[in-house]
Symmetry: C2
Subunit: 310 residues, 2 copies
Amino acid sequence: MSQSIKVFAPATVANVVCGFDVLGFAVHSPGDEVVLRLSDKPGVNIIKIDGDEGRLPTNPEKNTVGISVIKFLEKIGSTQGIEIELYKKMPLGSGLGSSSASTVAGVFAINELMGGPLSKEELLPFAMEGERLACGSAHADNVAPALFGGFVLVRSYNPLDIIKLPSPKGLYCTLIHPHIEVQTKDARNILPKQIDLQDAVEQWGNVAGLISGLYQSDYSLISRSLKDVIVEPVRSVLIPGFHQVKNAALDVGALGGGISGSGPSIFVLSTNEDIANKAAKAMEKEFLKLGIGNDTYISQINPKGPVVIG
Amino acid sequence: MSQSIKVFAPATVANVVCGFDVLGFAVHSPGDEVVLRLSDKPGVNIIKIDGDEGRLPTNPEKNTVGISVIKFLEKIGSTQGIEIELYKKMPLGSGLGSSSASTVAGVFAINELMGGPLSKEELLPFAMEGERLACGSAHADNVAPALFGGFVLVRSYNPLDIIKLPSPKGLYCTLIHPHIEVQTKDARNILPKQIDLQDAVEQWGNVAGLISGLYQSDYSLISRSLKDVIVEPVRSVLIPGFHQVKNAALDVGALGGGISGSGPSIFVLSTNEDIANKAAKAMEKEFLKLGIGNDTYISQINPKGPVVIG
Protein backbone atom coordinates (compact mmCIF):
# COMPACT_ATOMS: atom_id res chain seq x y z
CA MET A 1 0.00 0.00 0.00
CA SER A 2 1.50 3.30 -1.08
CA GLN A 3 1.53 6.24 1.33
CA SER A 4 -0.09 8.78 -1.01
CA ILE A 5 -1.76 9.05 -4.38
CA LYS A 6 -2.64 11.83 -6.82
CA VAL A 7 -5.66 11.39 -9.08
CA PHE A 8 -7.10 13.45 -11.95
CA ALA A 9 -10.81 13.25 -12.76
CA PRO A 10 -12.44 14.93 -15.73
CA ALA A 11 -15.02 17.59 -16.34
CA THR A 12 -18.27 16.30 -17.76
CA VAL A 13 -21.10 17.53 -19.92
CA ALA A 14 -24.49 16.55 -18.51
CA ASN A 15 -27.91 17.19 -20.08
CA VAL A 16 -26.52 16.44 -23.54
CA VAL A 17 -28.99 18.42 -25.69
CA CYS A 18 -32.06 16.16 -26.14
CA GLY A 19 -30.80 13.86 -23.35
CA PHE A 20 -31.79 16.17 -20.49
CA ASP A 21 -31.26 14.49 -17.11
CA VAL A 22 -30.23 11.14 -18.63
CA LEU A 23 -27.14 11.62 -20.82
CA GLY A 24 -23.62 12.85 -20.07
CA PHE A 25 -20.04 12.45 -21.25
CA ALA A 26 -16.52 13.06 -20.00
CA VAL A 27 -13.76 15.16 -21.60
CA HIS A 28 -9.99 15.20 -21.12
CA SER A 29 -9.77 18.83 -20.14
CA PRO A 30 -10.49 20.54 -17.82
CA GLY A 31 -10.54 18.43 -14.66
CA ASP A 32 -9.64 18.42 -10.98
CA GLU A 33 -6.81 16.81 -9.03
CA VAL A 34 -6.90 15.30 -5.59
CA VAL A 35 -4.01 14.12 -3.41
CA LEU A 36 -4.80 11.61 -0.66
CA ARG A 37 -2.24 10.65 1.97
CA LEU A 38 -2.25 8.07 4.75
CA SER A 39 -1.98 9.84 8.08
CA ASP A 40 -1.35 8.88 11.68
CA LYS A 41 -3.82 11.53 12.71
CA PRO A 42 -7.22 9.85 12.95
CA GLY A 43 -10.16 10.87 10.76
CA VAL A 44 -10.38 12.51 7.37
CA ASN A 45 -8.80 15.95 7.18
CA ILE A 46 -8.76 18.43 4.31
CA ILE A 47 -5.41 20.13 4.64
CA LYS A 48 -5.43 22.18 1.44
CA ILE A 49 -7.84 23.46 -1.18
CA ASP A 50 -6.29 25.28 -4.11
CA GLY A 51 -8.04 27.20 -6.89
CA ASP A 52 -11.49 27.63 -5.33
CA GLU A 53 -11.01 31.25 -4.21
CA GLY A 54 -11.95 30.16 -0.71
CA ARG A 55 -15.44 29.08 -1.73
CA LEU A 56 -15.34 25.41 -0.75
CA PRO A 57 -15.79 24.16 2.83
CA THR A 58 -12.73 22.58 4.46
CA ASN A 59 -14.88 20.76 7.00
CA PRO A 60 -14.71 17.24 5.57
CA GLU A 61 -18.33 16.52 6.53
CA LYS A 62 -19.45 19.47 4.39
CA ASN A 63 -17.04 18.97 1.50
CA THR A 64 -18.09 16.68 -1.37
CA VAL A 65 -14.68 15.01 -1.48
CA GLY A 66 -14.43 14.74 2.28
CA ILE A 67 -17.85 13.17 2.78
CA SER A 68 -17.31 10.66 -0.03
CA VAL A 69 -14.02 9.54 1.49
CA ILE A 70 -15.60 9.31 4.96
CA LYS A 71 -18.50 7.20 3.62
CA PHE A 72 -16.07 4.98 1.73
CA LEU A 73 -13.99 4.30 4.84
CA GLU A 74 -17.15 3.57 6.85
CA LYS A 75 -18.21 1.10 4.19
CA ILE A 76 -14.97 -0.86 4.26
CA GLY A 77 -14.80 -0.59 8.03
CA SER A 78 -11.49 1.27 8.11
CA THR A 79 -10.37 3.78 10.74
CA GLN A 80 -7.35 4.86 8.67
CA GLY A 81 -6.50 8.56 9.00
CA ILE A 82 -6.48 10.39 5.65
CA GLU A 83 -5.17 13.80 4.56
CA ILE A 84 -6.78 15.39 1.51
CA GLU A 85 -5.42 18.08 -0.80
CA LEU A 86 -7.81 19.34 -3.46
CA TYR A 87 -6.60 21.16 -6.57
CA LYS A 88 -9.49 22.81 -8.40
CA LYS A 89 -8.33 23.20 -11.98
CA MET A 90 -11.71 24.10 -13.35
CA PRO A 91 -14.27 26.80 -12.60
CA LEU A 92 -16.96 26.25 -9.98
CA GLY A 93 -20.61 26.70 -10.95
CA SER A 94 -19.75 26.53 -14.62
CA GLY A 95 -21.94 23.63 -15.74
CA LEU A 96 -18.86 21.48 -16.27
CA GLY A 97 -19.41 19.12 -13.36
CA SER A 98 -16.81 20.70 -11.10
CA SER A 99 -17.97 19.09 -7.87
CA SER A 100 -18.36 15.72 -9.60
CA ALA A 101 -14.80 15.84 -10.92
CA SER A 102 -13.42 16.44 -7.42
CA THR A 103 -15.66 13.84 -5.82
CA VAL A 104 -14.87 11.18 -8.39
CA ALA A 105 -11.15 11.92 -8.05
CA GLY A 106 -11.55 11.50 -4.29
CA VAL A 107 -13.43 8.19 -4.31
CA PHE A 108 -11.19 6.76 -7.00
CA ALA A 109 -8.11 7.86 -5.01
CA ILE A 110 -9.23 6.43 -1.68
CA ASN A 111 -10.15 3.12 -3.33
CA GLU A 112 -6.71 2.90 -4.97
CA LEU A 113 -4.96 3.95 -1.77
CA MET A 114 -6.77 1.25 0.22
CA GLY A 115 -5.80 -1.45 -2.26
CA GLY A 116 -8.81 -1.25 -4.62
CA PRO A 117 -11.44 -3.18 -2.62
CA LEU A 118 -14.37 -1.80 -4.66
CA SER A 119 -15.21 -1.80 -8.38
CA LYS A 120 -16.09 1.40 -10.21
CA GLU A 121 -19.74 0.33 -10.13
CA GLU A 122 -19.48 0.02 -6.36
CA LEU A 123 -17.79 3.43 -6.09
CA LEU A 124 -20.64 5.25 -7.83
CA PRO A 125 -22.94 5.55 -4.77
CA PHE A 126 -20.13 7.23 -2.77
CA ALA A 127 -19.59 9.78 -5.52
CA MET A 128 -23.35 10.33 -5.65
CA GLU A 129 -23.27 11.06 -1.89
CA GLY A 130 -20.92 13.93 -2.75
CA GLU A 131 -23.42 15.20 -5.32
CA ARG A 132 -26.17 15.08 -2.73
CA LEU A 133 -24.10 17.42 -0.60
CA ALA A 134 -23.33 19.72 -3.53
CA CYS A 135 -26.76 19.78 -5.21
CA GLY A 136 -29.23 18.63 -2.58
CA SER A 137 -30.00 15.44 -4.47
CA ALA A 138 -27.96 12.40 -5.45
CA HIS A 139 -27.62 13.09 -9.18
CA ALA A 140 -25.59 10.71 -11.32
CA ASP A 141 -25.49 12.50 -14.66
CA ASN A 142 -22.12 14.13 -13.97
CA VAL A 143 -20.51 11.63 -11.58
CA ALA A 144 -21.30 8.59 -13.74
CA PRO A 145 -19.49 9.85 -16.87
CA ALA A 146 -16.70 11.31 -14.70
CA LEU A 147 -16.20 7.88 -13.11
CA PHE A 148 -16.70 5.60 -16.13
CA GLY A 149 -15.59 7.90 -18.94
CA GLY A 150 -17.23 8.14 -22.35
CA PHE A 151 -20.93 8.70 -22.93
CA VAL A 152 -23.10 7.39 -20.12
CA LEU A 153 -26.86 6.94 -19.94
CA VAL A 154 -28.61 7.20 -16.59
CA ARG A 155 -31.69 5.22 -17.61
CA SER A 156 -33.24 5.20 -14.17
CA TYR A 157 -32.55 6.33 -10.61
CA ASN A 158 -34.87 3.97 -8.84
CA PRO A 159 -33.34 1.49 -9.17
CA LEU A 160 -30.12 3.10 -10.37
CA ASP A 161 -29.37 1.90 -13.91
CA ILE A 162 -26.25 3.21 -15.62
CA ILE A 163 -25.49 2.22 -19.23
CA LYS A 164 -22.10 2.84 -20.81
CA LEU A 165 -22.48 3.95 -24.43
CA PRO A 166 -19.87 3.89 -27.19
CA SER A 167 -18.06 7.10 -28.19
CA PRO A 168 -17.15 7.51 -31.86
CA LYS A 169 -13.34 7.76 -31.99
CA GLY A 170 -13.12 10.97 -34.01
CA LEU A 171 -15.43 13.02 -31.84
CA TYR A 172 -14.07 16.28 -30.36
CA CYS A 173 -15.74 18.47 -27.78
CA THR A 174 -15.32 22.23 -27.58
CA LEU A 175 -16.34 23.77 -24.27
CA ILE A 176 -16.68 27.47 -23.63
CA HIS A 177 -17.15 28.86 -20.14
CA PRO A 178 -18.40 32.46 -20.21
CA HIS A 179 -17.56 34.50 -17.13
CA ILE A 180 -21.13 34.92 -16.02
CA GLU A 181 -22.99 33.16 -13.25
CA VAL A 182 -26.10 31.00 -13.63
CA GLN A 183 -27.49 29.62 -10.38
CA THR A 184 -28.34 25.92 -10.70
CA LYS A 185 -31.43 26.76 -8.66
CA ASP A 186 -32.57 29.35 -11.22
CA ALA A 187 -31.84 26.96 -14.09
CA ARG A 188 -33.98 24.38 -12.32
CA ASN A 189 -36.82 26.76 -11.39
CA ILE A 190 -37.17 28.11 -14.93
CA LEU A 191 -38.12 24.65 -16.24
CA PRO A 192 -41.78 24.03 -16.96
CA LYS A 193 -43.47 21.32 -14.89
CA GLN A 194 -45.55 20.30 -17.90
CA ILE A 195 -44.65 20.04 -21.57
CA ASP A 196 -46.52 19.26 -24.80
CA LEU A 197 -46.74 15.55 -25.57
CA GLN A 198 -45.88 16.45 -29.18
CA ASP A 199 -42.63 18.10 -28.07
CA ALA A 200 -41.81 15.12 -25.86
CA VAL A 201 -42.26 12.77 -28.83
CA GLU A 202 -39.94 14.92 -30.92
CA GLN A 203 -37.43 14.91 -28.08
CA TRP A 204 -37.39 11.12 -27.58
CA GLY A 205 -37.16 10.64 -31.34
CA ASN A 206 -33.97 12.70 -31.15
CA VAL A 207 -32.72 10.83 -28.08
CA ALA A 208 -33.22 7.57 -29.97
CA GLY A 209 -31.42 9.04 -32.99
CA LEU A 210 -28.51 10.26 -30.89
CA ILE A 211 -28.02 6.90 -29.16
CA SER A 212 -28.19 5.17 -32.53
CA GLY A 213 -25.69 7.65 -33.98
CA LEU A 214 -23.24 6.93 -31.14
CA TYR A 215 -23.47 3.16 -31.76
CA GLN A 216 -23.09 3.58 -35.52
CA SER A 217 -20.47 6.36 -35.41
CA ASP A 218 -22.90 8.10 -37.75
CA TYR A 219 -21.91 11.76 -37.48
CA SER A 220 -24.70 12.98 -39.70
CA LEU A 221 -27.29 11.22 -37.55
CA ILE A 222 -25.65 12.56 -34.38
CA SER A 223 -25.83 16.05 -35.87
CA ARG A 224 -29.47 15.72 -36.94
CA SER A 225 -30.38 14.38 -33.48
CA LEU A 226 -28.62 17.09 -31.44
CA LYS A 227 -31.82 19.10 -31.04
CA ASP A 228 -33.54 20.08 -27.82
CA VAL A 229 -37.07 21.42 -28.17
CA ILE A 230 -37.82 21.41 -24.45
CA VAL A 231 -35.06 22.62 -22.15
CA GLU A 232 -32.78 24.73 -24.35
CA PRO A 233 -35.53 27.15 -25.47
CA VAL A 234 -36.21 27.92 -21.80
CA ARG A 235 -32.75 27.86 -20.25
CA SER A 236 -30.94 29.62 -23.06
CA VAL A 237 -32.49 32.93 -21.96
CA LEU A 238 -30.21 32.75 -18.89
CA ILE A 239 -27.12 32.85 -21.13
CA PRO A 240 -26.66 36.13 -23.02
CA GLY A 241 -25.72 35.49 -26.65
CA PHE A 242 -26.45 31.75 -26.44
CA HIS A 243 -27.89 31.40 -29.94
CA GLN A 244 -25.23 33.54 -31.65
CA VAL A 245 -22.49 31.58 -29.87
CA LYS A 246 -23.94 28.19 -30.76
CA ASN A 247 -24.70 29.18 -34.34
CA ALA A 248 -21.17 30.53 -34.79
CA ALA A 249 -19.89 27.03 -33.98
CA LEU A 250 -22.37 25.34 -36.31
CA ASP A 251 -21.37 27.77 -39.07
CA VAL A 252 -17.76 26.54 -38.96
CA GLY A 253 -18.87 22.92 -39.13
CA ALA A 254 -19.64 21.69 -35.60
CA LEU A 255 -22.17 18.84 -35.51
CA GLY A 256 -24.31 20.45 -32.82
CA GLY A 257 -24.31 21.19 -29.13
CA GLY A 258 -26.04 23.08 -26.39
CA ILE A 259 -25.90 24.09 -22.76
CA SER A 260 -23.46 22.05 -20.66
CA GLY A 261 -25.18 20.87 -17.49
CA SER A 262 -27.30 23.75 -16.27
CA GLY A 263 -24.94 26.32 -17.82
CA PRO A 264 -23.56 28.84 -18.38
CA SER A 265 -20.96 26.77 -20.26
CA ILE A 266 -21.80 25.74 -23.82
CA PHE A 267 -20.43 22.70 -25.64
CA VAL A 268 -20.35 21.62 -29.23
CA LEU A 269 -19.22 18.35 -30.81
CA SER A 270 -17.12 18.16 -33.98
CA THR A 271 -15.73 15.42 -36.17
CA ASN A 272 -12.09 16.56 -35.92
CA GLU A 273 -9.71 18.80 -34.02
CA ASP A 274 -9.53 21.44 -36.72
CA ILE A 275 -13.27 22.13 -36.61
CA ALA A 276 -13.21 21.94 -32.80
CA ASN A 277 -10.55 24.68 -32.79
CA LYS A 278 -12.43 26.82 -35.27
CA ALA A 279 -15.58 26.41 -33.21
CA ALA A 280 -13.71 27.57 -30.09
CA LYS A 281 -12.47 30.71 -31.86
CA ALA A 282 -15.89 31.47 -33.34
CA MET A 283 -17.62 31.09 -29.97
CA GLU A 284 -15.00 33.16 -28.13
CA LYS A 285 -15.50 35.95 -30.62
CA GLU A 286 -19.26 36.02 -30.13
CA PHE A 287 -18.99 36.23 -26.34
CA LEU A 288 -16.32 38.92 -26.62
CA LYS A 289 -18.64 40.97 -28.86
CA LEU A 290 -20.96 41.05 -25.83
CA GLY A 291 -18.08 41.95 -23.53
CA ILE A 292 -18.16 38.54 -21.86
CA GLY A 293 -14.76 37.05 -21.03
CA ASN A 294 -14.46 33.32 -21.39
CA ASP A 295 -12.27 30.21 -21.30
CA THR A 296 -12.33 27.48 -23.90
CA TYR A 297 -11.32 23.82 -23.66
CA ILE A 298 -10.90 21.44 -26.56
CA SER A 299 -10.54 17.69 -26.17
CA GLN A 300 -11.65 14.32 -27.41
CA ILE A 301 -14.22 12.34 -25.46
CA ASN A 302 -12.45 10.90 -22.42
CA PRO A 303 -12.95 7.14 -22.49
CA LYS A 304 -11.40 6.35 -19.08
CA GLY A 305 -12.54 8.73 -16.39
CA PRO A 306 -10.18 9.16 -13.43
CA VAL A 307 -6.46 8.36 -13.72
CA VAL A 308 -3.65 8.09 -11.21
CA ILE A 309 -1.12 10.83 -11.99
CA GLY A 310 1.21 10.57 -9.02
CA MET B 1 -41.03 -7.92 -67.28
CA SER B 2 -43.30 -10.59 -65.79
CA GLN B 3 -47.05 -10.33 -66.31
CA SER B 4 -48.05 -10.65 -62.67
CA ILE B 5 -46.59 -10.79 -59.19
CA LYS B 6 -47.75 -11.82 -55.73
CA VAL B 7 -46.22 -10.09 -52.70
CA PHE B 8 -46.52 -10.65 -48.95
CA ALA B 9 -45.97 -7.76 -46.54
CA PRO B 10 -45.90 -8.13 -42.78
CA ALA B 11 -47.90 -6.87 -39.84
CA THR B 12 -46.06 -4.36 -37.69
CA VAL B 13 -46.03 -3.20 -34.11
CA ALA B 14 -45.93 0.60 -33.84
CA ASN B 15 -45.68 2.69 -30.66
CA VAL B 16 -43.27 0.17 -29.14
CA VAL B 17 -43.90 0.84 -25.42
CA CYS B 18 -41.73 3.87 -24.51
CA GLY B 19 -41.18 4.61 -28.23
CA PHE B 20 -44.63 6.10 -28.82
CA ASP B 21 -44.94 7.57 -32.33
CA VAL B 22 -41.27 6.90 -33.19
CA LEU B 23 -40.52 3.18 -32.95
CA GLY B 24 -41.95 0.14 -34.78
CA PHE B 25 -40.98 -3.34 -35.89
CA ALA B 26 -42.13 -5.99 -38.34
CA VAL B 27 -43.11 -9.61 -37.65
CA HIS B 28 -43.37 -12.65 -39.92
CA SER B 29 -46.97 -13.39 -39.17
CA PRO B 30 -49.64 -12.21 -39.77
CA GLY B 31 -49.44 -10.20 -42.99
CA ASP B 32 -51.30 -9.38 -46.18
CA GLU B 33 -50.89 -10.53 -49.79
CA VAL B 34 -51.38 -8.55 -52.94
CA VAL B 35 -51.45 -9.74 -56.55
CA LEU B 36 -50.70 -7.20 -59.26
CA ARG B 37 -51.24 -8.00 -62.95
CA LEU B 38 -50.42 -6.07 -66.11
CA SER B 39 -53.64 -5.34 -67.92
CA ASP B 40 -54.66 -4.03 -71.35
CA LYS B 41 -57.48 -2.16 -69.66
CA PRO B 42 -56.17 1.32 -68.83
CA GLY B 43 -55.95 2.60 -65.26
CA VAL B 44 -55.62 0.87 -61.93
CA ASN B 45 -58.48 -1.49 -61.10
CA ILE B 46 -59.13 -3.44 -57.92
CA ILE B 47 -60.76 -6.63 -59.12
CA LYS B 48 -60.88 -8.56 -55.87
CA ILE B 49 -60.62 -7.98 -52.13
CA ASP B 50 -60.70 -11.07 -49.97
CA GLY B 51 -60.93 -11.30 -46.19
CA ASP B 52 -62.12 -7.77 -45.38
CA GLU B 53 -65.80 -8.65 -44.87
CA GLY B 54 -66.67 -6.02 -47.44
CA ARG B 55 -65.22 -3.17 -45.37
CA LEU B 56 -62.57 -1.85 -47.76
CA PRO B 57 -63.34 0.42 -50.72
CA THR B 58 -62.79 -1.07 -54.18
CA ASN B 59 -62.54 2.37 -55.76
CA PRO B 60 -58.78 2.54 -56.31
CA GLU B 61 -58.67 6.27 -55.49
CA LYS B 62 -60.13 5.49 -52.06
CA ASN B 63 -58.19 2.30 -51.37
CA THR B 64 -54.78 2.55 -49.73
CA VAL B 65 -53.26 0.01 -52.11
CA GLY B 66 -54.96 1.53 -55.14
CA ILE B 67 -53.89 5.09 -54.42
CA SER B 68 -50.27 4.07 -53.74
CA VAL B 69 -50.07 2.21 -57.04
CA ILE B 70 -51.67 5.15 -58.89
CA LYS B 71 -49.18 7.61 -57.36
CA PHE B 72 -46.28 5.29 -58.16
CA LEU B 73 -47.29 5.04 -61.83
CA GLU B 74 -47.72 8.83 -62.02
CA LYS B 75 -44.24 9.25 -60.58
CA ILE B 76 -42.55 7.01 -63.13
CA GLY B 77 -44.72 8.45 -65.92
CA SER B 78 -46.32 5.14 -66.83
CA THR B 79 -49.86 4.65 -68.24
CA GLN B 80 -49.70 0.88 -67.80
CA GLY B 81 -53.03 -0.68 -66.84
CA ILE B 82 -52.90 -2.66 -63.57
CA GLU B 83 -55.26 -5.16 -61.96
CA ILE B 84 -55.07 -5.56 -58.19
CA GLU B 85 -56.19 -8.45 -56.01
CA LEU B 86 -55.93 -7.90 -52.27
CA TYR B 87 -55.90 -10.78 -49.80
CA LYS B 88 -56.39 -9.56 -46.25
CA LYS B 89 -54.90 -12.23 -44.02
CA MET B 90 -55.00 -10.15 -40.88
CA PRO B 91 -57.71 -8.34 -38.96
CA LEU B 92 -58.58 -4.72 -39.76
CA GLY B 93 -58.51 -2.13 -36.99
CA SER B 94 -56.47 -4.42 -34.78
CA GLY B 95 -53.41 -2.27 -34.10
CA LEU B 96 -51.28 -4.59 -36.22
CA GLY B 97 -50.74 -2.20 -39.12
CA SER B 98 -53.24 -3.87 -41.42
CA SER B 99 -53.52 -1.04 -43.93
CA SER B 100 -49.74 -0.57 -43.93
CA ALA B 101 -49.14 -4.22 -44.72
CA SER B 102 -51.46 -4.05 -47.75
CA THR B 103 -50.06 -0.75 -48.92
CA VAL B 104 -46.44 -1.83 -48.60
CA ALA B 105 -47.23 -5.08 -50.41
CA GLY B 106 -48.80 -2.97 -53.18
CA VAL B 107 -45.96 -0.48 -53.67
CA PHE B 108 -43.34 -3.20 -53.44
CA ALA B 109 -45.27 -5.27 -56.00
CA ILE B 110 -45.76 -2.45 -58.50
CA ASN B 111 -42.09 -1.51 -58.28
CA GLU B 112 -41.03 -5.12 -58.93
CA LEU B 113 -43.56 -5.50 -61.72
CA MET B 114 -42.25 -2.36 -63.44
CA GLY B 115 -38.66 -3.56 -63.30
CA GLY B 116 -37.66 -2.05 -59.94
CA PRO B 117 -37.04 1.60 -60.90
CA LEU B 118 -37.18 2.84 -57.28
CA SER B 119 -35.29 1.92 -54.11
CA LYS B 120 -37.12 1.02 -50.90
CA GLU B 121 -36.25 4.47 -49.57
CA GLU B 122 -37.92 6.00 -52.62
CA LEU B 123 -40.98 3.77 -52.19
CA LEU B 124 -41.68 4.96 -48.65
CA PRO B 125 -43.51 8.19 -49.61
CA PHE B 126 -45.95 6.22 -51.79
CA ALA B 127 -46.75 3.87 -48.93
CA MET B 128 -47.16 6.90 -46.66
CA GLU B 129 -49.72 8.28 -49.13
CA GLY B 130 -51.73 5.14 -48.48
CA GLU B 131 -51.51 5.80 -44.74
CA ARG B 132 -52.73 9.33 -45.27
CA LEU B 133 -55.85 7.86 -46.87
CA ALA B 134 -56.31 5.29 -44.09
CA CYS B 135 -55.54 7.49 -41.08
CA GLY B 136 -55.89 11.06 -42.25
CA SER B 137 -52.18 11.76 -41.86
CA ALA B 138 -49.05 10.39 -43.52
CA HIS B 139 -47.74 8.29 -40.63
CA ALA B 140 -44.59 6.23 -41.15
CA ASP B 141 -44.42 4.21 -37.95
CA ASN B 142 -46.16 1.17 -39.47
CA VAL B 143 -45.23 1.50 -43.14
CA ALA B 144 -41.51 2.04 -42.49
CA PRO B 145 -40.99 -1.23 -40.55
CA ALA B 146 -43.35 -3.06 -42.95
CA LEU B 147 -41.20 -1.87 -45.86
CA PHE B 148 -37.69 -2.15 -44.37
CA GLY B 149 -38.23 -4.96 -41.87
CA GLY B 150 -36.69 -5.11 -38.41
CA PHE B 151 -36.89 -2.32 -35.85
CA VAL B 152 -37.24 1.13 -37.38
CA LEU B 153 -36.95 4.56 -35.80
CA VAL B 154 -38.90 7.46 -37.26
CA ARG B 155 -36.69 10.18 -35.80
CA SER B 156 -38.43 13.03 -37.55
CA TYR B 157 -41.23 13.69 -40.04
CA ASN B 158 -40.12 17.10 -41.20
CA PRO B 159 -37.81 16.29 -42.83
CA LEU B 160 -38.58 12.57 -42.89
CA ASP B 161 -35.72 10.69 -41.17
CA ILE B 162 -35.96 6.91 -40.94
CA ILE B 163 -33.25 4.95 -39.09
CA LYS B 164 -32.97 1.18 -39.38
CA LEU B 165 -32.06 -0.38 -36.03
CA PRO B 166 -30.59 -3.80 -35.34
CA SER B 167 -32.82 -6.64 -34.12
CA PRO B 168 -31.30 -9.16 -31.70
CA LYS B 169 -31.44 -12.52 -33.44
CA GLY B 170 -33.14 -14.47 -30.66
CA LEU B 171 -36.04 -12.08 -30.16
CA TYR B 172 -39.58 -13.47 -30.53
CA CYS B 173 -42.80 -11.50 -30.63
CA THR B 174 -46.13 -12.77 -29.35
CA LEU B 175 -49.15 -10.86 -30.60
CA ILE B 176 -52.65 -11.25 -29.28
CA HIS B 177 -55.65 -9.70 -30.99
CA PRO B 178 -58.69 -9.62 -28.73
CA HIS B 179 -62.02 -9.53 -30.54
CA ILE B 180 -62.99 -6.09 -29.38
CA GLU B 181 -62.88 -2.81 -31.22
CA VAL B 182 -60.84 0.27 -30.29
CA GLN B 183 -61.34 3.25 -32.59
CA THR B 184 -58.01 4.82 -33.54
CA LYS B 185 -59.77 8.15 -33.11
CA ASP B 186 -60.71 7.31 -29.48
CA ALA B 187 -57.18 6.07 -28.79
CA ARG B 188 -55.88 9.38 -30.13
CA ASN B 189 -58.40 11.59 -28.32
CA ILE B 190 -57.75 9.98 -24.95
CA LEU B 191 -54.12 11.14 -25.01
CA PRO B 192 -53.22 14.14 -22.87
CA LYS B 193 -51.97 17.23 -24.72
CA GLN B 194 -49.57 17.97 -21.89
CA ILE B 195 -47.47 15.66 -19.76
CA ASP B 196 -45.17 16.05 -16.77
CA LEU B 197 -41.58 16.89 -17.70
CA GLN B 198 -40.50 14.34 -15.07
CA ASP B 199 -42.48 11.58 -16.84
CA ALA B 200 -41.04 12.64 -20.19
CA VAL B 201 -37.50 12.36 -18.79
CA GLU B 202 -38.27 8.88 -17.48
CA GLN B 203 -39.70 7.96 -20.88
CA TRP B 204 -36.70 9.15 -22.92
CA GLY B 205 -34.36 7.44 -20.48
CA ASN B 206 -36.21 4.23 -21.34
CA VAL B 207 -36.17 5.01 -25.07
CA ALA B 208 -32.40 5.48 -24.84
CA GLY B 209 -32.10 2.22 -22.89
CA LEU B 210 -34.23 0.31 -25.39
CA ILE B 211 -32.22 1.54 -28.40
CA SER B 212 -29.01 0.68 -26.58
CA GLY B 213 -30.38 -2.76 -25.71
CA LEU B 214 -31.19 -3.44 -29.36
CA TYR B 215 -27.65 -2.51 -30.43
CA GLN B 216 -26.08 -4.60 -27.67
CA SER B 217 -28.51 -7.55 -27.88
CA ASP B 218 -28.82 -6.93 -24.14
CA TYR B 219 -32.09 -8.64 -23.24
CA SER B 220 -32.01 -7.54 -19.64
CA LEU B 221 -31.62 -3.90 -20.68
CA ILE B 222 -34.41 -4.29 -23.27
CA SER B 223 -36.62 -5.71 -20.55
CA ARG B 224 -35.80 -2.95 -18.05
CA SER B 225 -36.44 -0.32 -20.72
CA LEU B 226 -39.81 -1.65 -21.94
CA LYS B 227 -41.75 0.74 -19.72
CA ASP B 228 -44.25 3.36 -20.81
CA VAL B 229 -45.25 5.89 -18.14
CA ILE B 230 -47.15 8.16 -20.52
CA VAL B 231 -49.34 6.47 -23.11
CA GLU B 232 -50.01 2.99 -21.72
CA PRO B 233 -51.52 4.21 -18.43
CA VAL B 234 -54.07 6.21 -20.46
CA ARG B 235 -54.80 3.93 -23.40
CA SER B 236 -54.87 0.67 -21.48
CA VAL B 237 -58.28 1.60 -20.03
CA LEU B 238 -59.69 1.03 -23.54
CA ILE B 239 -58.60 -2.63 -23.44
CA PRO B 240 -60.46 -4.73 -20.84
CA GLY B 241 -58.05 -6.95 -18.92
CA PHE B 242 -54.94 -5.25 -20.34
CA HIS B 243 -52.87 -5.45 -17.17
CA GLN B 244 -53.83 -9.04 -16.33
CA VAL B 245 -53.02 -10.09 -19.90
CA LYS B 246 -49.67 -8.34 -19.99
CA ASN B 247 -48.70 -9.52 -16.52
CA ALA B 248 -49.60 -13.10 -17.40
CA ALA B 249 -47.02 -12.92 -20.20
CA LEU B 250 -44.39 -11.36 -17.93
CA ASP B 251 -45.06 -14.06 -15.33
CA VAL B 252 -44.02 -16.79 -17.80
CA GLY B 253 -40.81 -14.94 -18.71
CA ALA B 254 -41.59 -12.40 -21.44
CA LEU B 255 -39.19 -9.42 -21.47
CA GLY B 256 -41.94 -6.83 -21.67
CA GLY B 257 -44.47 -5.43 -24.07
CA GLY B 258 -47.51 -3.26 -24.39
CA ILE B 259 -50.24 -2.06 -26.71
CA SER B 260 -49.55 -2.70 -30.39
CA GLY B 261 -50.17 0.48 -32.37
CA SER B 262 -53.27 2.08 -30.92
CA GLY B 263 -54.66 -1.31 -29.86
CA PRO B 264 -56.54 -3.41 -29.06
CA SER B 265 -53.79 -5.92 -29.89
CA ILE B 266 -51.10 -6.48 -27.28
CA PHE B 267 -47.55 -7.64 -27.97
CA VAL B 268 -44.77 -9.01 -25.82
CA LEU B 269 -41.16 -9.80 -26.67
CA SER B 270 -39.37 -12.93 -25.48
CA THR B 271 -35.88 -14.36 -25.79
CA ASN B 272 -36.99 -17.68 -27.31
CA GLU B 273 -39.88 -19.50 -28.97
CA ASP B 274 -40.75 -21.53 -25.90
CA ILE B 275 -41.41 -18.44 -23.78
CA ALA B 276 -43.21 -16.79 -26.70
CA ASN B 277 -45.55 -19.79 -26.88
CA LYS B 278 -46.12 -19.84 -23.14
CA ALA B 279 -46.85 -16.10 -23.23
CA ALA B 280 -49.42 -16.66 -25.99
CA LYS B 281 -51.21 -19.33 -23.95
CA ALA B 282 -51.11 -17.24 -20.77
CA MET B 283 -52.52 -14.18 -22.54
CA GLU B 284 -55.23 -16.18 -24.33
CA LYS B 285 -56.36 -17.59 -21.01
CA GLU B 286 -56.69 -14.15 -19.41
CA PHE B 287 -58.81 -12.78 -22.25
CA LEU B 288 -60.96 -15.92 -22.23
CA LYS B 289 -61.59 -15.45 -18.51
CA LEU B 290 -63.23 -12.17 -19.52
CA GLY B 291 -65.16 -13.89 -22.30
CA ILE B 292 -63.08 -12.16 -24.98
CA GLY B 293 -62.22 -14.33 -27.98
CA ASN B 294 -58.81 -13.74 -29.52
CA ASP B 295 -56.17 -14.76 -32.06
CA THR B 296 -52.50 -15.12 -31.29
CA TYR B 297 -49.48 -14.92 -33.59
CA ILE B 298 -45.94 -15.91 -32.70
CA SER B 299 -42.92 -15.06 -34.83
CA GLN B 300 -39.39 -13.74 -34.81
CA ILE B 301 -38.71 -10.16 -35.80
CA ASN B 302 -39.02 -9.97 -39.59
CA PRO B 303 -35.74 -8.57 -40.93
CA LYS B 304 -36.78 -8.18 -44.58
CA GLY B 305 -40.23 -6.65 -44.95
CA PRO B 306 -42.09 -7.51 -48.16
CA VAL B 307 -41.25 -10.62 -50.21
CA VAL B 308 -42.30 -11.87 -53.61
CA ILE B 309 -44.22 -15.12 -53.11
CA GLY B 310 -45.51 -15.76 -56.62
